[in-house]
């Protein structure tokens, strides 16, 4: 018997509880990524000499595997006195990793703002903080929302990596069920189907959002 429906139904509630952890990790990780990414992008514009440093930092983070970064936060940070539990360490690592990607998206958004907008705010004697908050960010963010959404989906698909440091998210739960019952087919396939469903739904949502934003910009 390759696929057992009753077993699949039996483990579904357990996996559903684990899915909540995966989704929590996604939302917390993305909150870190989106805000840290924005901070990096703003610093880059506001403080003249940071551009080069930040691009090297971004390149460093993007060139090394997320799994190693998760291990790094979980195992190396405690050596410097910062002991984190597995969930926090994992979410922090994923958040920092995607902050590097997000900061590039924000940068593209800022680059698309016409220079005249900066000049106008200088002419009006606005502080750079006011310029960012009231003029640049409201214009720069809406067009890049779909790109950020794609990274949210990508981040969600990386959460199974947290199983490597034994966070009880979906993948880890599926592995535990597998090793207890010697049946891997149902748990791992269900996890795959769950991710597939979430990805297809979120891709459709992002497309709808994109259309909505385009229509608003056209008006």
């Amino acid at each position: 018997m390759i696929w057992d429906w009753s077993f699949a139904l039996e483990i579904l509630p357990v996996l559903a509880r684990a899915a909540v952890i995966s989704i929590e990790a996604t939302l917390l990780g993305f909150a870190i990524a989106a805000s840290l990414g924005l901070i990096l992008a703003v610093i880059r514009i506001a403080v003249p000499w940071t551009g080069w440093t930040i691009s090297v930092l971004v390149e460093l983070i993007r060139s090394t595997p997320l799994l190693i970064q998760i291990f790094f936060v979980y195992f190396v940070f405690p050596k410097f006195g910062l002991v984190l539990d597995a969930f926090t360490a994992g979410v922090l690592a994923i958040g920092i990793h995607y902050a590097a990607y997000c900061s590039e998206v924000y940068r593209a958004g800022f680059d698309n703002i016409h220079r005249g907008q900066w000049e106008a705010s200088i002419a009006l004697n606005l502080s750079s903080w006011t310029t960012f908050r009231d003029i640049i960010i409201p214009q720069a963010i809406p067009p890049i929302v779909p790109a950020l959404g794609n990274y949210l989906v990508a981040l969600f698909k990386e959460t199974p990596l947290l199983s490597a440091i034994a966070v009880l998210e979906l993948m880890q739960t599926a592995k535990i069920i597998g090793s207890e019952t010697f049946r891997y087919t149902e748990p791992i396939t269900l996890v795959g189907l769950f991710f597939l469903a979430m990805s297809l739904v979120s891709a459709a949502l992002i497309r709808a959002l994109e259309r909505l934003l385009n229509r608003r910009n056209a008006r």
């Binding site: 691009s55 390149e59 190693i68 396939t189």
Partner: protein, 242 residues
Amino acid sequence: MGIRTLVGMLVVSLALIAVLATQATYSLFLPGLLQGAALTIEIAVLGSLLAVVMGVLAALARMYGPAPLRWLATVYVEIFRGTSALVQLFWLFFVLPQFGVTLDAFPVAVLALGLNVGAYGSECVRGAIQSVARGQWEAGTALNMSRAQMLRRIILPQAFIAMIPPWGNLFIELLKSTALVSLITLSDLAFKAQQMNQNTFKTIPIFTLVLLMYLAMSLTVSIGMRLLERRASLGLARGKAA
């Protein structure tokens, strides 16, 4: 980021590895990690080859194939883009044997990463082919070429240049995903790092070296793809001038 900065970063990271290798605590771990890196490179190269083959085949099937082939390619792309690489790896490793197909960890690793990245790659192949101007097809029609001839001799060579940068990013993604194979017991760089960490608790030297080694490998791919792009577009620029 310019190619000079990338070369600079590569030189710095290699120099750092060399300097650290002279330190007693670090030199202890270097041979084992290099062994792991060799396996990482092997999986990355084979996986990249598979990814390119799958990417081109899936893109062509979706664009020009008969209906059943088109659906098959679409299902392949959606499944592999919609689920995690780790889930795919585990599925091939743990579930495939239930269907009577038992593979070693190494082929599973190459297969999972190649198929995963190939699905993303098919989208960039498709985009590159669509970016070739319509007039090129029309010119081919005027010359009475068959569609296969036009693709092979006119469209693909031009699409190839547009494909290089996105494939470069995908190769780096693939190189980074090789770390996942440590979770199906292959002793790649990530596996060696974890194993040494558990045995010695010398966490800082081990993970510093590992990060530097991955960085050096990724930068090498970036630089290689930049050079390839420069070479490939040289011919194009000449063609325009003539």
